[in-house]
């Protein structure tokens, strides 16, 4: 069972590599941001798998904090670094 958890964690880590391609290629800022969000979700999954594989319950707390805070960067992005879009969508 431990082997399966580790193999899945490795598979997810490889997935991160695929996501990295999207960060580098873009083309828009939103593409890169969403790839970073995908990283957050994947990291949560990897942490949960490692928690099971190592029977270390503290890692679930790390996963919990990641899951809660992953959205912060995206919210900051939408509110601060995406000003033109916001202005365009606002009714005049």
């Amino acid at each position: 069972m431990q082997l399966l958890y580790l193999a899945l964690a490795l598979f997810l880590l490889l997935n991160l590599g695929a996501g990295m391609w999207r960060v580098l290629r873009g083309p828009t800022a939103a593409d890169r941001m969403l790839a970073a969000q995908l990283f957050g979700t994947t990291a949560v999954a990897i942490l949960l798998l490692l928690a099971q594989a190592n029977t270390n319950a503290a890692l679930r707390d790390v996963a919990l904090v990641f899951a809660l805070l992953a959205a912060m960067t995206a919210v900051a992005f939408v509110r601060r670094a995406w000003p033109n879009q916001e202005a365009n969508h606002k009714p005049k």
Binding site: A9, V23, L69, A71, V75
Partner: protein, 321 residues
């Protein structure tokens, strides 16, 4: 199975190096921020693999929640009007002029790197460090988590100074800029609902991390970072505290952590003759009090850092005009 962990670890290490290089070398600042956030995620995984869940927790709370938001806000301040897809650093005009001096820091860095490499290589291959001594004195420390015992008891003055450093950082930001307390435009129903749903959960998780720190990974810094993230989320959602709260109440909350630490340090100095040496029977309670005060101060300091300026200065200017 050892092969699997070996592949996992080497892939993780290589991705970290590659991400760090890309984040530094990338001329597009937005891309660099995204790469840095991804670096933080992988760094937390690396700490987990190094069996340091406490550090992983701190990296998760600060790297995922706060650094990304802070950098994003800073980027927006750098490029207030430009198109959102063009965050590229403008090319330097006098590159050739700068180039002639670039070898100087390069030589300095090379010397430091060589020295550090020599020290690392000359270290004994295995050293127990202080972990056996920490384990031997854990019973009288007031916490069963060795990391908390070291941070809050054995090396409490380190933590005291770290909290003061945070306060100094905020004073630096305040001296540079003033922040507007005007309400921002309505954020829209999605962000508003998200902030309303998440803020209580953030506070609950912060309290949990604070409490769990006594016997498992967690503690004041992690809890404070989650609390700070709640403040950042509220600020992003357009919420602003009343101006009256910004003067004395904010300052009082900001100094609660350092002040509690200093009071305990002075009391223990007077009573036991040694700074921050707690009586073993009261150590647990003292650590909890210190950590609670520190958590609140750290959380509010981080949120105030995100506000990006002295909120009172702005009011003063407004009154004058």
């Amino acid at each position: 199975m050892t092969l699997l962990t070996w592949v996992f670890d080497s892939l993780l290490g290589l991705s970290l190096l590659w991400l760090a290089w890309r984040a530094l070398a990338c001329p597009d600042l937005f891309k660099a921020i995204v790469l840095f956030v991804a670096f933080g995620l992988l760094m937390a995984l690396a700490w987990v693999r190094l069996a340091a869940p406490d550090v992983a927790l701190a990296e998760a709370a600060i790297g995922a929640g706060l650094t990304g938001a802070l950098l994003m806000a800073a980027l927006a301040k750098l490029h207030p009007t430009e198109a959102h897809d063009d965050f590229t650093v403008p090319p330097e005009k006098n590159v050739t002029k700068v180039w002639s001096w670039q070898w100087l820091p390069a030589v300095a860095i090379l010397l430091v790197t060589t020295g550090l490499g020599y020290v690392v290589l000359s270290l004994p291959p295995y050293a127990a460090g202080l972990s056996t001594e920490v384990a031997a004195n854990l019973a009288i420390s007031g916490a069963s988590n060795p990391v908390t015992a070291v941070l809050l008891n054995f090396r409490g003055y380190d933590t005291l100074l770290e909290i003061v450093v945070l306060l100094l950082a905020l004073l630096g930001v305040w001296s540079l800029n003033s922040a507007s307390l005007d309400r921002k435009a309505a954020p829209g129903i999605v962000l508003d609902t998200l902030a309303r749903l998440l803020t209580p959960i953030f506070i609950l998780v912060a309290a949990y991390l604070l409490w769990v720190g006594a016997h498992a990974p967690g503690g004041a810094f992690q809890a404070g970072a989650v609390l700070g993230a709640a403040g950042v989320l509220l600020l992003l959602a357009g919420w602003r505290p009343r101006a009256g709260l910004m003067a004395l109440p904010l300052r009082l909350v900001l100094v609660t952590g350092p002040a509690t630490f200093v009071i305990v340090a002075v009391l223990t100095l007077l009573m036991k003759g040694q700074m921050l040496e707690y009586p073993p029977t009261q150590a647990g309670v003292l650590i909890l009090i210190l950590e609670t005060a520190a958590t609140v101060s750290i959380g509010v300091t981080l949120a105030a850092l995100f506000l990006g300026g002295d909120p009172r200065k702005n009011n003063r200017n407004k009154n004058q005009t």
